[in-house]
């Protein structure tokens, strides 16, 4: 396997890590809009309080890895999706500060404003990420030199919006399971029921999106006969049916793992469908940006691989420690948000 292929996988691993970890943060944020009363809102925020910042780093690292390993792809996606990315940035900023600011002033109106900023940005972000992913899957108009030749409104096509809604539902479902895992009492019960309800919506949307993919992006299905694709599909099927069963049996940690596995499997399927392309061109297939025409030099990819092999085990090690320090149900203290 070439270094470029390894980095293709690593970029998707980082994106998948982001989707799973910050996914429940965003899901909890979206559900925060439906929390009842001050106590529930604080529990929701503090369920993700100590960890969301570290989870967001997966996105930054994925961006850095894309820049380093596939500069033309980074350049084309980021400059092409300019307006969409500026909205993503604004949402990420609002989410970051709303948690920190919210509890700092003792006024109901102040808290309400930051609740809206927190819930609103957490709802919008999955949609924006999904729309971006949908456009990448479907392919975008690319010029020969690899620059994006389209408009912002061109990104808002039905298929991409469908992927955006699917992403929102998937992450909110994941967040509901996580919130049920971290809360107790009425909030726990409602989160669990919400997770089941969202699962039904998710299954319907997933089937719809799969059919739409066959129509809008048939090239993605080329790799579907490979054993890896079957493995990913099997994982998806098991997780998809395991999720509601785990919820019914009140095995909440299993449910969170199952929804995480659903997200991981979907990401894997997207990666398998795209490979070796990173950004397909909708106008001329030969203009697509692939691991062959867009990767950095061998030396750079190797240096980065060394850094990743040293750094990522450490990251996973201490992240696990930190998660364990905050294990169990949310307890509000003077240090909480």
């Amino acid at each position: 396997m070439t270094l470029a292929a390894i980095w293709f996988i690593l970029v998707f691993v980082l994106l998948g890590g982001y989707a799973i970890l910050d996914g429940f943060d965003l899901g909890v944020g979206a559900l925060h809009l439906f929390a009842r009363g001050e106590h529930e809102r604080r529990v929701a925020m503090n369920a993700i309080g100590p960890v969301w910042d570290g989870n967001e780093v997966w996105l930054l690292t994925a961006g850095g890895a894309l820049f380093a390993a596939f500069p033309p792809v980074y350049a084309a996606v980021f400059s092409g999706f300019y307006i969409a990315l500026m909205l993503v940035l604004a949402c990420l900023m609002f989410r970051a500060v709303s948690m920190e600011f919210r509890g700092k002033v003792n006024s109901a109106r102040w808290r309400r404003a930051w609740d809206v900023a927190f819930g609103g940005s957490s709802t919008l972000l999955p949609i924006l990420f999904g729309v971006a992913l949908g456009n990448v899957l479907r392919g975008v108009p690319l010029e020969v030199d690899g620059t994006y030749d389209g408009t912002f409104l061109g990104l808002l096509n039905p298929y991409a919006i469908l992927v955006g809604v699917l992403t929102l539902v998937a992450l909110t479902m994941h967040g509901a399971a996580f919130l049920a895992f971290k809360s107790d009492g009425k909030m726990h019960e409602r989160s669990r029921r919400a997770a089941v309800g969202l699962w039904v919506v998710f299954v319907v949307l997933f089937v719809t999106t799969s059919v739409a993919t066959a129509v809008a992006a048939p090239s993605l299905l080329r790799g579907s006969s490979s054993p890896i694709a079957w493995a990913a599909l099997a994982m998806l099927a098991i997780a998809m049916f395991g999720f509601p069963m785990a919820l019914r049996r009140r095995r909440l940690s299993v449910a969170v793992l199952a929804s995480g596995a659903i997200i991981a499997a979907m990401m894997a399927l997207a990666a398998i469908g795209l490979f070796p392309r990173l950004l397909p061109s909708s106008t001329d297939p030969s203009a697509s940006l692939t691991i062959y025409n867009s990767s950095s030099s061998h030396r750079t990819l190797l240096a980065m691989l060394v850094i990743a092999l040293i750094g990522m085990p450490l990251v996973i090690g201490y992240t696990t420690l930190i998660y364990r320090a905050f294990a169990g149900k949310v307890v509000l203290t003077e240090d909480s948000y």
Partner: protein, 464 residues
């Protein structure tokens, strides 16, 4: 308005606003490492209360810093896509390394530090602030390595229409890497010291006997004196010498040397004019610039006249920003020396004048950071990568002016909101002051055992 200019404006606004926060959080994190060490090892209740108080301020600063930092990484792709394509083989790696080796560390342990005070033992709690300080410093290292490569590129060749890496080590440890890192990192420590000193002064102005204010004031002033002295010598001096050798056009611009000469004077004060570039009302010391740059009063220093106009940075802005930074640097030495003198004469907490001066000095190190950064980046113009890629060939061509104007306005509103809320909440926190000290019994129990506090897996955590 042309797209290239708007791209530069947007980038400048993004970086300038972001660069207000990391110096504060890096400096404060290292100071808190000292404070929390004392709280842990000596069981000092004052240091413990100081840690809780400044920990909250660190959390607030970090949140805004994180929020404003994300747009930077995105903008290389959005606004500078031609740059990204050309140098991605080299420039992307430090950014990715920053994520893997630094961001995870600082943000992960920040959560443990801010929320884990009652969940983990004192030792682990101290370790977490140490990791925050270390992570944010490693982050500064990698982003400054990337920035230094743009100033003094090394370890690459131009091949296949792009800059390709030939040596990762040479690219990272390029000529300006260490001088720039030391100078900037020390500037962060100064910013942290002035924040702690100014906040403590505000606390003391309300309550002259406040133990947290007294302890932090002493710590911050001594820390501030050492770091301010080190900033001038050796760090500032070495950095200037490196610029004189590796970027002579920039050196001529920041020092205001418009004609090449031997025995070049050091300009202490002047009012710069453009067209033709000249300095009026000059106060200068003959030969000193030659001596400082090359260790010899007779050395020849190249002036701006030696470079073609299309290779010179804007002369006025670089001169003004550099010289004002130096003035501020001297002010930091003066005020911290005065403070330590007062401490030594046991007069530190008397009177209000000195305390008020410290409060109003809080933003000055940040202004110095901004000015230094302007001198460095404007001084690099007209190049994006010095001598390799012009800024005019670096921006994204597929953007339009209205798109840029829209997002610039959106971000300006957002930044104005964030900036004013940050100041508002900081002032509110300082007015509220530090919480009361923990009662001695509860504290000693907490700090000795740690494990008793509702953290059932304490032993497992320590073992693993």
């Amino acid at each position: 308005m042309n797209v290239g200019f708007l791209c530069r404006i947007q980038f400048a606004i993004t970086i300038a606003f972001h660069f207000l926060f990391p110096p504060l959080s890096i400096g404060l994190a290292w100071l808190l490492t000292l404070v929390e060490w004392r709280a842990w090892r000596r069981g000092d209740r004052v240091a413990d209360a100081a840690g809780r108080f400044f920990g909250k301020i660190l959390g607030l600063t970090f949140a805004v810093g994180v929020a404003t930092g994300i747009p930077m990484e995105f903008q290389f792709g959005t606004n500078w896509s031609r740059y990204s394509r050309f140098v991605g083989d080299i420039f992307g790696a430090p950014l990715a390394a920053e994520g893997v080796l630094a961001f995870f560390l600082e943000s992960g342990f920040l959560g443990l530090y801010l929320f884990g005070r009652k969940r983990v033992s004192k030792g682990w709690h101290w370790f977490s602030i140490l990791m925050v300080a270390l992570g944010s410093t490693i982050s500064a290292f990698w982003i400054l390595a990337a920035n230094s490569w743009m100033q003094t590129p090394a370890g690459f060749i131009i091949r296949n229409g792009r800059a390709e890496l030939t040596s990762f080590r040479e690219a990272v440890f390029n000529a300006s890497m260490w001088p720039r890192f030391c100078h900037t990192f020390d500037a962060c420590l100064i910013a942290g010291a002035f924040l702690m000193a100014g906040v403590s002064a505000a606390v003391l102005l309300k309550d002259r006997r406040n133990p947290v204010g007294r302890y932090c004031m002493k710590l911050a002033l001594i820390f501030g004196l050492i770091t301010s002295l080190a900033e001038a010598f050796p760090f500032g001096h070495v950095h200037a010498q490196q610029v004189a050798r590796t970027q002579p056009a920039k050196f001529a611009a920041i020092e205001g040397l418009y004609t090449s000469r031997e025995n070049a004077p050091l300009v202490m004060f002047a009012v710069p004019f453009t067209q033709p570039p000249q300095l009026k009302a000059k106060a200068e010391l003959p030969g000193l610039l030659s001596w400082m740059a090359f260790g010899n009063v007779h050395a020849r220093v190249r002036g701006a006249d030696e470079f073609p106009a299309d290779q010179l940075p804007p002369l006025w802005l670089t001169f003004v920003s550099f010289h004002n930074m130096v003035v501020l640097g001297l002010y930091f030495i003066a005020i911290t020396t005065w403070g330590v003198w007062r401490l030594w004469r046991r007069r530190l907490f008397e009177g209000t004048r000195f305390l008020k001066l410290l409060v109003w000095s809080i933003p000055l190190p940040l202004i110095a950071c901004q000015l230094g950064w302007m001198a460095a980046e404007v001084g690099r113009q007209p190049w994006a990568v010095y001598g390799v890629l012009r800024t005019a060939d670096a921006f994204s061509t597929n953007l339009t002016a209205p798109m840029l104007v829209f997002s610039i306005i959106m971000f300006c509103i957002l930044y104005a909101l964030l900036g004013s809320l940050y100041v508002y909440l900081l002032v509110k926190k300082v007015r509220h002051g530090p919480d009361a000290l923990e009662p001695p019994e509860a504290f000693s129990e907490a700090q000795l055992s740690g494990a008793k506090l509702d953290f059932p897996r304490q032993k497992e955590l320590v073992r693993s």
